[in-house]
Amino acid sequence: MTSTVYDDRDGQEATGVPMRRIKFTINGDKKVAEVEPRLLLAHLIRQGLSLTGTHMGCDTTNCGACTVLVDGRAVKSCTMLAVQADGHEITTVEGMASASELHPLQEGFKEEHGLQCGFCTPGMMLSAKALLDANPDPTEEDVRWALSGNLCRCTGYQNIVKSVLWAAAKLRAQAPAGEAALADEPAPEPEA
């Protein structure tokens, strides 16, 4: 049960904040939410859903700490309104591991020391997931390009790149023969 309580200022209670009802899926669970139209998706995820693994770094779409997947595409959730998520499917870092098993990207980041303070890590892993879902066998250059919207101040990226390549190799090894070739979309070409 939820309730919203306003201050009663001599009978002039706060009204007039228009709320919108949205439906979306997060990490496989279907949800309905009442949100202010100006609410950022990142805040819906962090406060409304208490999924605090999605971090806020810069508020201006530069750092990528808030990256989530929307219908499988990497999106910076600080620059998307919650209402825009209506009817869409969102994946956050909390949705990466299945039951007790880590996603190979999560394993890769630990194995290759791809994180230090951990603040950029969820966004970094989700950008990497969007890449690997589309391109299971990326080159180092592909990885660097795909992660170029995510800033890290601790690692210098070298180990992050290794982590992603580690995960790609593991995913390919796990995939049944031929499945990699049947990936949904062709690999995007680096634009550089």
Binding site: Y6, D7, A14, E36, R38, Q47, S50, L51, T52, G53, T54, H55, M56, G57, C58, D59, T60, N62, C63, A65, T92, V93, E94, M96, A97, L102, Q106, E107, F109, K110, E111, H113, L115, Q116, C117, G118, F119, C120, T121, P122, M125, V143, R144, W145, L147, S148, G149, N150, L151, C152, R153, C154, T155, G156, Y157, Q158, N159, I160, V161, A192
Partner: protein, 794 residues
Amino acid sequence: MTALDEIKIGGLGASRKRVEDNRFIRGKGNYTDDIVLPGMLHMEILRSPLAHARIVSIDTSKAWQIPGVHLVLTGEMMATRNLAWMPTLSYDTQAVLATDKVRFQGQEVACVIADDPYIAKDACEAIDVEYEPLPAIVNPEQAVAEGAPVIRDDKENQADNVIYHWEVGDAGGTERAFAQADKVSRLKLHYPRSHPSPIECCGSIADFNRATSKLTVYMTTQAPHIIRAAVALVAELPEHMIRIVSPDIGGGFGNKVPVYPGYVCSILASILLERPVKWIEDKSGNLISTGFARDIYLDGEVAMRKDGKILAVRMHCDADHGAFFSDAQPSKFKIGLLHSAFASYDIPVGHITARGTYSNKAPGGVAYRCSFRVTEAMFFQERMIQAAAHDLGMDQAEFRRINFVRDDQFPYRTPFGFLTDSGQYAKCLDIGLNAVGYTDFLKQRAEARARGRRLGIGISTMTEPLGAGNSREYDILGIKMFDSADLKVHMTGKAIVRTGARTQGQGHETTWAQIVAHELGIPAEDITVEEGDTDTAPFGMGTYASRSTPVAGAAVAMVSRKIRAKARKLAAHLLEVSEEDVEWELGRFYVRSAPDRGVTIQECAMAAYSNMPDGMEPGLENTAYYDPPNLTWPFAVYIVTVEVDPETGVWDVLNMVAVDDCGVRINPMIVEGQIMGGLTEAYAMSSMQFITFDADGNCVGSNYMDYLLPTAWETPGYELHSEVVTPSPHHPIGAKGIGECAAVGGPAAFVNAVMDAIDDTGVRNIDMPLLPDRVWEALTKRHDVSGAPPVRSD
């Protein structure tokens, strides 16, 4: 019984996977902004749009009327509680909320506490402030110009903008040495203002409980105990009623050492409202107002014999400290450890002078990934050395080799009073030159030059004083810079260790356990590490200036030894022999005459709770405070090769080799991670990352669109070398600091490489960052390029 394999139990030298990763990779870290307390309100800060202006009036009435607003704080209200100003870490004062004037763009003017951050932001916009603009000062030259407005007219006896004059060394001896020189080489440069810019901004949640009188503050601080002391002294709250908790920190790099107005306001708001108040800074607030770094002007010269031997060095530094002198540094040193300059070289005599001035820029000079201004010192050292070698017509590697402090000279007293502890400088250089293929590269460079291509090679070395104290020389506002560790071994042989440091990505949760494993033979996985809560952690000065391993890490080793000493008594009791007959091997005591008869450390732990000898105090716990006898002195050589495009000024890194001698490596994987991170910040500073100001004091670099940080795309790869290990002679396990070395020594390697590529142009200096337009200007106009503010309009 076979001896324990130290690597297998995660001891010294094991590249143990990090314990903290388990939560971070699942998104289960617990950063300040992740904490939600019942009844929590949200605070936002209104900042000044002007760099220098008198406040005519502040009208908050509209903000108060917005539903959901609980409190609007202004400087005037703070002043009634004597909190409009606070003391800084450098014996100055700093405005919490402005009362009389604003002194930099982004200064805190008012704050609003509301039900949610959106409402608080709305209310900030509803506050009406009338300003009367004043001329802005953005560099030291303007600060001391005749007729310059006095920025700190709030201070009695402050008639100008000068904060201090400071000097060290032997002026007369240096003068005499210069008189005898065959050659004098001079260099002037500006090390630009930078910002540590961790991805996580600063923030706090203050929670004052009227019923218990206890104030708990969750906050992004690298030094929770210093904050507790500061709150006790500034807010006049009893220290035992203050609990500072530093949860997971999303990067610090020095930015999270100082006390910021936002923290203070959230604390006062919580006391006034008796509810938890959360303040989370936005990125522009972080970049525009919190602890900057560098921003100093260096002008120096070296006196040389014609055979290349350096006879003396002298240097002057003009430091721009912003509107308040709130540098975080040991109190005795006005300009940090700038006098570590030239510590890599055997130079008989030298003299350094420094002058600090105010400006209309953000305050809070911090040790951004360096030990208090060592980055500036080492940058100047290596830029100067390259210029001098060039002036003498001497090979830059050979010139360094001739002047290095030799291995047999340690401990070595520098002309500015430091005692460097150990090192193998020439060996590191040889490894670096070999790795980069120095001779071959010089040939390639000459061939390329003949064809109009510009290749360059830059060398940098660094000798960094890491691990303040000792307590004789190092204190912050009188509090001595030691550190501490507390170790509790439970009856089943598992343990918890707590220190006064605070990890921000350095991996203490992993490495402190490795030190205990090394000292006691308890597997690292059986040891929990906890830091950051002043109610449970022993008093310590926190994590910055690469002091964790040199000081807190040493304390972990020392407390483990205390535990081992007690365990030895328990072992003697269990083995029914005298203590003198007991020998130690990793994880086990045994009878000297009968090595098969032994007890493990775990058995000793159980005995401490179940079977201690008569008269022995039960339990197996202890605390150690470690006051280091000296700083630790790591050394490194960084070599970069580049190609500069003469058409555009764009330069590409071809190769980067790093040879770091940081003594014994506790966890080689983590050490290498620290080096790669540092090299990337070095690349950032040399290539793109800086904050500057226009003539009106507007900050250029107040968001990530203007303040450029390298991404995975631009960042080069690095080749790391770990062959040279010179243990610190005074550190209990021979370790030295490492977290910052690459950020300290790296920038000069990149800049020297670019300067080497244009060494036929007569250009002596291009200020960092070496933006393509600056390099292009130097190449085509054949003059030095200054990056000092105000930004040019041409």
